[in-house]
Amino acid sequence: MVGQLAGSAHQGSTFFAHGIGGRQDLPISFSQVLVGAVAALVISFGALGLLWRTSRLRGAAAGRALPPGIQRGLDSPTLRWGLRMLGLLLTGFVAVAAFLGPDLATNPTATWIYVLFWVGLVPASLLFGPVWRQLNPIRTIHLGVSRLLQTAPDRGMLPLPRRLGYWPAAASLFSFTWLELVAPDRATTPVIRLYFLVYFFVHLLAAVVYGSHWFDRCDGFEAYSSLIGHMSPLGRRNDGQLVLRSPFNGLDALVPASGLVATVCVLLGSTAYDGFSSSATWVRTTTSSSLSPEVLGTLGLAGFVAAAIVTYSIATWLAGTLGTESRRALPGAFVHSIIPIAAGYVIAHYFSLFVFEGQHALILASDPLVKGWNLFGTAHRAIDYTVISASTIAVVQVLAIVLGHVMGVISAHDRAVRLFPPRQAVAGQLPLLALMICYTVGGLLLLFTS
C-alpha cells in the first residue's frame, strides 16, 4: 500500500517534522464521547455507593505465590543476565544505526526510540512489571564500571539524598517528552544522538556517585516502567516472593515519595498535550502566532503538565479538608490512582501508532545503515494498515480511557476508606471523583477534537 517507504530516502531533516509516522487517528464520534462520559459518571458514583466501606486492599502483602520452580527460574542469574545482554544488544543495534547510519528518513533510529522503546515500554510493563529495570543498559554498564572500580554497585560515594525522591525521574521524563513532542528536528539522528549521549553520561555518573539505587526512582524510563508495572499481574510481595496479584493491590503497594506526583503528572500532561497539539485550535494558533513552534510547544507542554499538577493538588487538598478531622494535606496519598488514568491516556493515544509504526520499525530494522540490506527479510514489506480497522481503534481508545478511570476510582476509593474516618469518607472522595471525571471527559474530548 505504501509502496515508496523504502525508496523515499532523502535528506530527512523535515521528514518527521510533526513527529513520528504520518498517520493520525480519526476523531472518535460524539456518541462515543457521550457513552464514555456517562459510563465514567455512573461508575464513579456507583462506586461511591456500592463499593466496600472498609479498606480491602493489602498492597505489597497481597498476592498468590508462584510455584517455587517458576520463581527460581524468574529470579535466576541466567535469566537476569540474559535480559541484561538483550538490553545491551538492542541498544547496541540502535546505537549502530544512530552513529554509523546516515541521517535519512529510512534510518530506523527514530522509529525504534519513539515507537518500539517508548510506546512499547507500556504494554511490556503492564504485562511483566518493571521490565526496564532488567533491560536498562546504563544499569548494566554501571555494573561493569563498579567491577572495574572494585566497588559494590549499590554503594556510591555519597548516600542518595532522600528528598530527591522521584524528582530526577520527573525531570528526565519531561526532557524526553519535550524531545519527542517539541524539539526541532527531533526525528533526526544528530538530535537523538545528542539527547541520549547526555542522558547516558548524566545517569551513569549519578549512579557512580549515588550507587545503583539511583536508577530505581531517578532514571525516567525505569521510573516510568516501574509505575506502569504496578498494574502488572506479576509482582513481588513484601516477603520477597514473586506473586500473581490484582492490579489494585499492585497499585496500592506503590510507596509515595517526593516528586511522584510530578512524575505521574508529566506522563498525563504530556500525553494530553500530544493529543491537543493536533487539534485544529492549536494548529491555527501555531500558524498565526509570531512565536516559534518550539517556544509555543514548550509553553503548551509545560502548561498541560502544570495543569495536571495544579488540578491534582487542589483535589487532594480539598480531600484532606473534607475527609479528615485534622485537615491535613494528602499530596502523595492518591497518586497511585492517577497511574491507570495516565496509562489509559497513553494507550488511547499511541495504540494505533504502535501497531502501524511498530511494523515500520521492523521493516526499517532490516537495513539499519541504509545500504540496501535485508538482514531480517522485512526490508521490502509495507505497513499493513488493514490489521486493525478505524472503528476498532476508536473502541480501544474509549475503552482505555474508561477502564483507566474505573481502576483509578476503585484505587482511590479503597485508599479513602482507609485514610478517612467513616463519616467523612464519602465527602472526602468527592474532590478526587470530580478530578477523575474531568481527566476522563477531557481525555475523551481530546480524542474527539484531534
Binding site: G36, S246, S389, L403
Partner: protein, 140 residues
C-alpha cells in the same frame, strides 16, 4: 480475595457496558456515512470506479498558504484525490502516511493523484516553508 472479586466484577461490568456502547457508537457512525470502511480496496485499483474523486487546490505565495492551512479536507476511503499545489518558490510537497513526495518548481504547479486507501488523518506539507502545513487530509 473478596476485594479482588468485587473489583473484578466492577471492572467486568464496566468493560461490558463500554464494549456494547462503544460498539453502538461506531455503528451509528458507519450507518450515517453509508459506506463500510472496514477493509480498504486493494492498492491495484489506482483508478477508482467513481471517476469524480476529490480535487484539492493549494497556493503558496510569500511563505503563506491559502486556503487556511488549519482546514481539514474530508474524503472517503478509496476515493481518488487530485491535489494541485501552486508555489512561487521551489518546494517539495509531502503527503504524510502515504509517503508521497513531489517537487514543485518556482512559479510552477504540481498535481499529485492518488487513491486515498488508508483511513486516518494525514498532514500534507511543504518542506521549505515554516510552518509547512498545507492542510490535513481526513480519510474515513
Amino acid at each position: 480475595m473478596r476485594s479482588f472479586r468485587l473489583a473484578s466484577a466492577v471492572v467486568g461490568l464496566a468493560l461490558g457496558v463500554a464494549i456494547t456502547l462503544a460498539g453502538c457508537g461506531s455503528g451509528d457512525d458507519s450507518s450515517g456515512s453509508g459506506t463500510a470502511t472496514s477493509s480498504p480496496p486493494p492498492t491495484a485499483a489506482t483508478t477508482s470506479p467513481s471517476a469524480a474523486g476529490t480535487t484539492i487546490d493549494v497556493t503558496i505565495a510569500g511563505g503563506k498558504v491559502t486556503p487556511d492551512p488549519s482546514r481539514r479536507v474530508e474524503v472517503k476511503t478509496g476515493d481518488q484525490v487530485h491535489l494541485t499545489v501552486t508555489s512561487d518558490t521551489a518546494d517539495e510537497i509531502h503527503i504524510h502516511g502515504y509517503d508521497i513526495e513531489k517537487e514543485v518548481s518556482a512559479g510552477g504547479t504540481v498535481t499529485i493523484a492518488f487513491a486515498a486507501d488508508i483511513p486516518g488523518q494525514f498532514e500534507v506539507e511543504a518542506h521549505e516553508i515554516s510552518p509547512g502545513l498545507l492542510f490535513t487530509l481526513v480519510v474515513k
